[in-house]
């Protein structure tokens, strides 16, 4: 006998519209119960109040082409992005000589070529590119500071995003190996190594970065022999690197503590010895566990680079100060700060995405 079904209940039929696709998703996520309905309504109202005016201000009524603020205001009600167009060179390069911009640009492009083999495994010719990555810091130094036949540029001329990237990238790349060594040192059974590591970490971590920057800019002069000149930016780079390395050391120590004792024993029992077992067995796992925290530290460091404005370096905030002081562009702080925020957000978001990618790639199903 053939079985009878109610209309629309035949098992071969697709589920009804309200039980599948967009309709169901919207219902489940926005209208599943009374609280959710209220929250949805509030959120929609809020977005309605905020988004359209912002879009109008930032895009529809915005002025891209003007020579000063008053011309902007005359042309439209919205954002005066013209200020960015007028000052883009300063925001990017600071006071770097204009005819040498190509050196900065080259260094910037080469940075990506140098980073690619470090960040990604499947880069064509990775083996050779890694040698380039190794040589890059020296290459970048000569490109930016000059020397070897290139016209020298004082670091006081560095500014804007160039400065942020120089400090950020140097800090990140320099602090990772140093942080690893400090973390290992702190766990060391050798009393002197242990004590020095602990003292360094606790001192550097216990002092605000600003203080270290002041030490770099002023106090250091008292310790150096009179007459020696030691580039301010280099001093700041060293301080930022040391500061970040102390934080990283603690982060990595946390990762090391998470490695089961059996891993150390297995490595030992194979006769690997301390450095090889660290390098091949322990650190790959410890760094893997620590990725979210390491990237967290890096993002913090990157944003902390804005503090260098206090010792007189013209990072983007320093440049914006100068721009706002200019009578032609007074009062446009909103536009400028939004632009700087976008720059930092894009950089930090990229780092955060990369860390997720890395975690996923390294996951081996344990």
């Amino acid at each position: 006998m053939q079985q009878q079904y109610e209309a629309g209940r035949h098992p071969d039929l697709p589920p009804p519209l309200v039980e599948r696709g967009a309709v169901k998703w919207v219902r489940d996520n926005f209208f599943s119960n009374a609280t959710s309905i209220v929250l949805t309504a509030v959120a929609v109202y809020f977005l309605y109040k905020v988004v359209p005016p912002f879009v109008e201000w930032a895009f529809v009524d915005a002025v891209w082409d003007a020579h000063h603020r008053n011309e902007c205001r005359a042309k439209g009600e919205g954002a005066c992005w013209a200020v960015l167009r007028a000052r883009i060179a300063q925001f990017t390069y600071g006071f770097y000589p204009a005819h040498l911009y190509w050196r900065v640009n080259t260094a910037f492009v080469l940075l990506f070529i140098a980073l690619a083999p470090l960040l990604f495994e499947h880069v064509p010719g990775r083996r050779y590119l890694l040698w380039f990555s190794l040589a890059y810091p020296v290459l970048a130094f000569f490109l930016l500071w000059g020397g070897l036949g290139l016209e020298p540029v004082e670091s006081a001329k560095f500014g804007g995003f160039l400065l942020t990237i120089v400090i950020g990238v140097t800090g990140i790349i320099g602090s990772l190996p140093l942080g690893i060594l400090l973390a290992l040192g702190r766990r060391s059974r050798l009393l002197i190594v242990h004590t020095i590591s602990v003292a360094f970490i606790e001192f550097v971590r216990g002092v605000p970065l600003i203080t270290l920057l002041f030490i770099a800019s002023t106090l250091l002069n008292y310790f150096l022999p009179p007459g020696t000149y030691f580039d301010l930016l280099l001093r700041v780079l060293i301080m930022v690197t040391l500061f970040a390395s102390a934080y990283l050391a603690e982060v990595i120590r946390g990762g090391l503590a998470g490695i089961p004792k059996g891993q150390f024993e297995a490595a030992d029992s194979l006769g690997l010895g301390y450095w090889k077992s660290m390098r091949l067995v322990i650190l790959p796992q410890a760094l893997h566990i620590s990725i979210p925290n390491i990237v967290n530290t890096f993002i913090g460091l990157y944003k902390d680079t804005t503090l260098v404005v206090i010792v007189g370096l013209a990072d983007p905030l320093g440049i914006s100060r100068a721009t706002l002081a200019d009578s032609k562009w007074q009062g446009l702080s909103t536009e400028i700060y939004i632009a700087i925020a976008v720059f930092f957000f894009v950089s930090c978001f990229a780092m955060s995405r990369y860390s997720l990618y890395l975690e996923k790639k390294l996951h081996t199903g344990h």
């Binding site: 059996g262 029992s269 390294l362």
Partner: protein
């Protein structure tokens, strides 16, 4: 294995010598006056209640634990604080752990080739061929490219045995190799160990698998309270335990 078969592979060459070894954890006296010699090709099973010091004893042989008194000589080299000697001995002494301790970030193949490449400086290809041979011997060649986390417990333990064998050790130490396994996986690991014994490997096993002890051991050692209480050939050991504590222990574990 028959008694004759068992004794055949044993030579007079001394592999391990422990003379008057003592060890303390703080105030706790874990090893008391241990005297033990192991000849090349000999297979020894150590049993005893938990906390009796059996694991500590074998872990002293490759210096995962440090002894405080007495001497331990492995293949003519005495274990002292000398790091060079320790590493030299560790190269020749393989160890299999209760919890496998495979390296989770490396594939089974990489687990096996790591030490041959970095410690023995073997070319990668040669190391891989060697590893494949041992993976075949432990019957998991098809798992070579997987990560340890993707294998069953029994497969992981066999991979761990292969990893140890890749260093071509002269002695193998087994620290309760089947205690962490589900019952249905114990046999597959024991079978590999029996095969290894047949091939003449010098072995010291801490285990409660008495069937295994009867099959392969030349000598069974019973430990309690940090001392070697009794040692004998397995037939004699199981049939006529002399010491009361041994009798009690055997009655407890053989009941079920």
């Amino acid at each position: 294995m028959s008694a004759q078969e068992k004794s055949m592979s044993v030579s007079d060459e001394m592999m391990i010598e422990m003379n008057g070894v003592h060890k303390w954890y703080g105030q706790f006296h874990v090893l008391k006056n241990i005297n033990l010699t192991v000849k090349r090709g000999e297979r020894i099973v150590i049993c005893g209640p938990s906390g009796s010091g059996k694991s500590t004893l074998i872990r002293c042989i490759n210096r995962l634990e440090e002894h405080q008194q007495g001497e331990i000589i492995v293949e003519g080299t005495e274990l002292t604080g000398n790091l060079k000697h320790i590493e030299q001995i560790r190269r020749e002494v393989g160890m299999v752990f209760q919890h496998f301790n495979l390296f989770p970030h490396l594939t089974v193949m990489e687990n096996c080739t790591l030490a041959p490449i970095w410690v023995r400086h073997m070319p990668k290809q040669e190391a891989e061929e060697l590893a494949m041979n041992y993976l075949r011997q432990v019957k998991i060649p098809e798992q070579a490219e997987k990560f340890p986390g993707q294998l069953s417990g029994g497969q992981q333990q066999r991979a761990a045995i292969a990893r140890s064998l890749c260093m071509r050790p002269k002695v193998m130490l087994f620290d309760e190799p089947t205690s962490a396994l589900d019952p249905e996986m114990i046999k597959e690991v024991l079978d590999i160990m029996i095969e290894l014994a047949r091939d003449g490997m010098t072995m010291i096993c801490v285990t409660h698998e008495m069937g295994f002890a009867k099959t392969v051991a030349n000598r069974v050692i019973f430990m309690d309270g940090g001392e070697i209480i009794e040692q004998n050939e397995p037939e004699e050991f199981f049939a006529n335990p002399k010491n009361e504590r041994t009798q009690l222990f055997l009655s407890q574990i053989l009941q079920h």
